[in-house]
Amino acid sequence: MIPLSHFMLISAGLFCIGLYAVLTKRNAIQVLIGIEFMINAAVLNFVAFGRYDKISGGGQMFALFAIVLAAAGVAVALAIILNVYKYFKSIDPTKTNTLKD
């Protein structure tokens, strides 16, 4: 059996990669991909812990839910990105700074 910590380490690594993508990418879609990575890392964590929970099966359940939510989120996010592009003529997050002081 694979020890739990391994799963967790992988998930941590994936999460940080996703975090990096969110923080530094100049493209909104790449930011979105980063977010996806983070969600996937979370799901992996869920699943890893869910292996120890047969009674309530919470881990796997919520992993499922998370996946679904992530999908919905992506759909809405893409729609938003479309609108942002219409307004700002760019999908660079650094260009959408009209809320600055």
Binding site: V22, L23, T24, T94, T96, N97, K100, D101
Partner: protein, 679 residues
């Protein structure tokens, strides 16, 4: 109410007599223009009647003396009071009598003058102060009235103040009088320090403090008080200085000729009869204070003044100036008489002089008045006071002519006049005195004889030029327009002429000892030499008649060529021995230079200092302003700027960039974790 019982309390009568003329001064200046003659005349007449009453009560009776507490300084009490003795009542009658006559005269003389209400007021003030002067019993009170008399003289000389010469003359009179007042005040101070009282009777009366004071070992002792003995002499000189200024003696005589700028009636009252006699009066009042040295100086000054004034009067052309110098000369006689100890002769001469000098002035005033009238009526401009332009008025103005004639005779001292009695007695006493002295003192009486002859010359010159001969200005036909002055003026002249005769003073026309007046003041210390009593008058009068005859020949018959006006002696005499020029050079010029210097000093140094301080203050204020603006405001502004910087710094955190917000959040979270892990 015994004090108010007039028949008992003579001091009150005297006080009333003095105060009555004051009413003119108090009420008249505000009255309508041209008014006030009646009030003035009535008050002075009442004053005269009261003085006359007092005279008959007090003459040769016991003197009256009443005092009140006046003021207290520290522990010292000062009194004010009235002293009535022979001298007082004589002076009161003299002053008020002559004032009444002058009042009547001025009514007509000053008739059309628009400022006449002021004239009556000032005249009232003068009469009040003069009467107050003679009745005062303490030196302080005399001093006050002395000053007041000087002041009213100033007001009256400068009556027509719009004329520059008049205001200048008034100033000159007042200033020179002030110099004398300085002396008088110093004398008062010395007397007070020595005797601690200012009361006349206490100091100068019979057995008074001054006769009780002795000089021993170079110290002047009186009771417990002592001073170095020089102070007695100094006090004498100080008082004499006051008399010198007031009575126009050398060297303070220059104001009297200039004082002729005032109206003629004023000149007759003040500068002939009464005020100038105040100096002589003072000396007479405080006679015991003078020690032999002061008396000798007095003699010389009096003699010199008399001689000098007579020489100056010889060449003057203004009718009033001749009379002014004549006054100075006669005052010199009086002062000299006091100096040699001829106390009663001096007072006698003062009295007779008052009458005939007043008459001389009023007659001259009469002539001036009529000539002025003529000049205005015919629009004939000429100086109506210049005797060279007058002449031939004998037939036209008989009152003035006979009045002036009698007065001139009295002045010269011709027999059967009052002047004969007084003047010759002075000269007799002078010879007797000189007989007791030796050396240079023996020429003194001869100097006085010479002066008397000069007096004869100049006064008859005046008479002949004005009334005889022919006028150069007014031709024969126009002369008939001149008539004698109005009756009010003329009968005053008449009354005064009566007083110039011997009858009033003595029933014996030759001897002065028979005079009641002379007998009122016996203070004889001089050894009599009886031969002088008939010899001297003989010499004097024969000399006078000769001189009169000569002057008649010169001026009426024109029998002598004039040596010319470029003659040195003539010029010296004409310019008054150049005294005015000397004084101007000595005192006025240096004073003007001093005042110019102090003005410049004030301007450059004082003002400069003030201006520099102002500039300094301005500079300091600039520095403070800089300090305030730069440092204080800078501090406040810096605080503002600092908050601005901090704000702007933190503002930069709001970039609006999503990823930066996220990064910041994560940084904070991480730091939490790390810190919590470490700590």
């Amino acid at each position: 109410m015994e004090v108010l019982n007039l028949s008992e309390n003579r001091s009150l009568i005297a006080l009333l007599a003095a105060i009555l003329p004051l009413f003119s001064f108090v009420f008249l200046p505000a009255s309508k223009k041209g008014g006030g003659a009646n009030i003035a005349l009535s008050t002075i007449s009442l004053s005269f009647l009261l003085s006359l009453y007092l005279f008959f009560q007090i003459w040769n009776a016991t003197p009256e003396h009443q005092q009140l507490h006046w003021f207290l300084i520290g522990n010292v009490q000062f009194y004010a009071g009235i002293l009535l003795n022979n001298l007082t009542v004589l002076m009161m009658v003299l002053v008020s009598g002559i004032s009444v006559l002058v009042h009547i005269y001025s009514r007509e003389y000053m008739k059309n003058d628009p400022n006449i209400h002021r004239y009556w007021a000032y005249l009232g003030l003068f009469c009040f102060s003069m009467l107050g002067l003679v009745i005062s019993d303490s030196l302080l009170l005399i001093y006050i009235f002395w000053e007041l008399v000087g002041f009213s003289s100033y007001l009256l000389i400068g009556f027509w103040f719009s004329k520059h010469a008049a205001s200048q003359a008034a100033k000159k009179a007042f200033i020179i009088n002030r110099i004398g007042d300085l002396g008088f005040l110093s004398g008062i101070m010395i007397i007070y320090t020595q005797f601690h009282t200012l009361d006349l009777l206490e100091i100068f009366g019979e057995g008074g403090k001054i006769s009780a004071a002795i000089i021993r070992d170079g110290l002047w002792l009186s009771g417990s008080q002592q001073m170095p003995m020089q102070w007695l002499t100094i006090a004498g000189f100080a008082f004499f200085l006051g008399a010198v200024a007031k009575s126009a003696q050398f060297p303070l005589h220059t104001w009297l000729p200039d004082a002729m700028e005032g109206p003629t009636s004023v000149s007759s009252l003040i500068h002939a009869a009464t005020m100038v006699a105040a100096g002589v009066f003072l000396v007479a009042r405080i006679y015991p204070v003078f020690d032999p040295l002061v008396l000798d100086v007095m003699v010389w000054i009096g003699a010199f003044t008399a001689f000098m004034a007579a020489t100056i009067a010889l060449t003057q052309n203004d009718i009033k100036r001749i009379l002014a110098y004549s006054t100075i000369s006669q005052l010199g006689f009086m002062v000299m008489a006091l100096g040699i100890g001829a106390y009663s002769e001096s007072i006698f001469h003062l009295t007779t002089h008052a009458f005939f000098k007043c008459l001389l002035f009023l007659a001259a005033g009469s002539v001036i008045h009529q000539l002025h009238h003529y000049s205005v009526k015919n629009s004939h401009e000429f100086d109506y006071q210049d005797i060279r332009l007058m002449g031939g008025l004998r037939k036209r103005m008989p009152f003035a002519f006979w009045g002036m004639c009698l007065a001139s005779a009295a002045l010269v001292g011709l027999p059967l006049t009052s002047g004969f009695l007084s003047k010759d007695s002075i000269l007799i006493k002078a010879f007797e005195w000189a007989a007791t002295r030796n050396g240079v003192f023996t020429i003194l009486p001869w100097l006085m004889v010479l002066t008397s002859w000069l007096t004869a010359f100049y006064i008859f010159r005046l008479l002949f030029k004005v009334f005889f001969a022919e006028s150069r200005e007014i031709k024969e036909d126009k002369l008939v327009q001149i008539n004698d002055s109005p009756i009010q003026m003329s009968y005053v002249l008449l009354i005064l002429s009566f007083f110039c005769s011997f009858i009033v003073f003595s029933f014996n026309p030759i001897s002065s000892e028979a005079s009641w007046l002379w007998n009122g003041f016996k203070l004889l210390k001089i050894r009599e030499i009886s031969s002088y009593h008939w010899l001297l008058p003989l010499i004097l009068n024969s000399g006078s008649f000769t001189i009169i005859f000569f002057s008649y020949r010169i001026y009426v018959q024109g029998k002598w060529t004039n040596p010319g006006e470029r003659n040195l002696l003539y010029r010296f005499s004409k310019r008054g021995w150049y005294f005015n020029e000397i004084y101007n050079f000595l005192f006025i010029k240096s004073l003007e230079k001093l005042s110019l210097f102090t003005f410049q000093f004030d301007l450059t140094v004082i003002d400069g200092l003030v201006n520099r301080i102002a500039t300094l203050t301005k500079r300091i204020s600039l520095v403070i302003d800089w300090f305030d603006r730069t440092i204080i405001d800078g501090l406040v502004n810096a605080l503002g700027l600092l908050s601005g910087y901090i704000g702007r710094f933190f503002r930069n955190f709001q970039t609006g960039r999503l990823q930066q917000y996220l990064m910041t959040m994560l940084l904070v979270m991480l730091s939490f974790f790390i810190l919590s892990y470490l700590i």
